[in-house]
């Protein structure tokens, strides 16, 4: 199952990487394109966001030619192991379950807090209805609490469910929720405590791709060391975000 990059994006990319042709190997980067600020489609129809910028920089440092591919979240891992692209760079938290099937690089985003957002302060997070995106670590977490889990296919719909009262709260990555809460003008608010889930976000790779993993690991390390990763984090997630020491 191949998610296809937009032709416009492909054009822009092939132009951008024409110079990089000498780097040889082409690496296809799989992402979802529906999870701002990690990755999203901008007005021009190109993949944009924190991970786009990060990925391009990593590829430049590892001297790889990279192409961006969009894929549905639900089938993003099967398509990786099936070889339709070579990495997953889609805000994917490192979990034990996933680690059994694919490999992760070291994290390029510190372990994230997940948070509840509701339309009123007194939302019942233990016994109420909580929306989450299907097959995310958040959905798994809600299933284990006492709350009624309401699952939607896209993150967008989970937030919509809170706005229209279908769910009492939504449980998702805090960074995804922050811009939404800001833009809602007081309609939505954070409730309850943040919940740390997962081991940070890393690039997903096939287990057999050790060489590629080493290259990306090295590139991430170098970005952590010279502070460029922290600069990117602050640019996309704001001053308060957790950064690497």
């Amino acid at each position: 199952m191949k998610k296809l990059i937009l032709s416009t994006a492909a054009l822009a990319l092939s132009a951008g990487f024409a110079m990089a042709e000498s780097h040889g190997m082409t690496v296809r980067m799989g992402t979802e394109g529906a999870y701002p600020p990690y990755n999203f489609i901008n007005d021009a129809g190109e993949i944009d966001g924190f991970e786009r910028e990060l990925g391009d920089e990593l590829c430049a440092r590892a001297e790889l030619t990279c192409e961006w591919v969009k894929n549905d979240w639900d089938s993003i891992i099967p398509n990786l192991v099936s070889g339709n692209y070579d990495t997953i760079i889609a805000g994917m938290s490192i979990t034990d379950e996933r680690d059994e099937v694919i490999d992760f690089t070291q994290n390029y985003y510190p372990p994230t807090a997940s948070a509840y957002v509701a339309a009123s302060e007194d939302a019942d997070l233990e016994g109420g209805v909580v929306a989450a995106q299907t097959s995310t670590i958040q959905a798994g977490h809600v299933a284990e609490t006492g709350a009624t889990l309401l699952e939607f296919a896209t993150p967008e719909e989970t937030v919509a469910a809170v706005r229209n009262g279908e769910a009492d709260a939504v449980f998702a990555d805090k960074d995804y929720l922050v811009p939404i809460v800001e833009a809602s003008g007081g309609e939505l608010m954070f409730v309850g405590d943040d919940v740390p889930l997962g081991g940070g976000i890393g690039l997903g790779l096939r287990e057999s791709d050790g060489e590629l993993k080493d290259k990306f690991d090295a590139a991430i390390t170098s970005m952590k060391e010279d502070g460029t990763l922290n600069a990117l984090l602050i640019k996309w997630f704001g001053e308060e975000t957790t950064i690497y020491e």
Binding site: D74, S75, I77, P78, V81, E97, V101, I102, V129, A131, T134, S135, G140, A143, E144, T148, L149, L150, E151, F152, A153, E157, A161, N164, G165, E166
Partner: protein, 268 residues
């Protein structure tokens, strides 16, 4: 954990009975078969109820469309066009949206945002429109001679309809209607997939199949299991409808009965 225990724990999981948490690691084939089968309850629920209730509306709409009165024929025509002309996917979206906005204003619409009621209504209207078109076609093919004979016997109005027109219409429509039933059961898989949210991980067969595909990262086990279940379900539907067909055509000589069966292939 033996397979029997799994059956006890998860056999009715789709209704919220049994183990609360779905299996989270060490997935066995047995778990997949049991849970996907458990989800099938929902597919059967949606399919049977929509089919039975849709049947009556379909008859009414077909009669409306065949009616001489413009103000009966036109709305029936539009109704059929709207539901036959647009993808179910989009119908689910609009229904969910509509029920949500109505819910804000009237308490009564509270239950329609859950799948068991809301999606059922969409499927009911959808199958009514498809069946109405089939019935309408059959109504137009009712042999003129049959009606004339009924007239000769002095039958009119309701009696003529119930004893002559309606049974003949059903006979003619039955094969195509069987296909519609099969399609309807297949369509029930869209309910949780695109339309309505799953509550507390209570979903249909496809919901659990994709749950396992997602957890095991291997689509090649759960989906074929799902496919197997549906092939069985289809066989059952064909069997039941075949029995009904036999009954509808019991007055015909053997040879003519088998000719009826051919028509089954003509629609869809």
């Amino acid at each position: 954990m033996s397979c029997w225990e799994t059956l006890a724990d998860y056999g009715l999981r789709s209704l919220g009975i049994g183990e609360r948490l779905l299996p989270r690691s060490d997935f066995t084939i047995c778990q997949q078969v049991v849970l996907i089968g458990s989800g099938l309850i929902w597919n059967i629920y949606f399919g049977v109820l929509a089919l039975v209730s849709g049947f009556f509306l379909a008859t009414a709409v077909a009669l409306g469309k065949a009616s001489q009165h413009r103000w009966l024929a036109k709305p029936a025509d539009w109704f059929i066009l709207l539901f036959r002309g647009s993808p179910l996917f989009i119908q689910f979206f609009f229904a969910y949206f509509l029920f949500l906005s109505l819910k804000g204003q009237y308490e009564a619409f509270d239950l329609f945002t859950s799948a068991w009621a809301g999606a059922l209504i969409v499927l009911f209207l959808n199958t009514a429109a498809y069946s109405a078109e089939i019935f309408y076609g059959a109504l137009r093919s009712v042999p003129k001679g049959d009606i004339e004979a009924a007239d000769a016997y002095g039958m009119t109005g309701w009696v003529r309809f119930r004893r002559i027109t309606w049974p003949t219409m059903l006979r003619l429509a039955w094969p195509a209607y069987t296909n519609e039933a099969i399609f309807l059961f297949h369509a029930t898989t869209l309910v949780f997939f695109s339309g309505f949210p799953a509550r507390q991980q209570k979903g249909d067969a496809l919901y659990y199949a994709s749950y396992f595909a997602d957890k095991t990262f291997n689509p090649f086990v759960p989906y074929p299991i799902l496919a197997g279940y549906f092939i069985l379900l289809t066989l059952v539907i064909v069997g039941i409808f075949g029995l009904a067909n036999k009954r509808l055509n019991r007055h015909l000589p053997q040879e003519a009965r088998s000719r009826m069966r051919l028509r089954m292939n003509l629609i869809r």
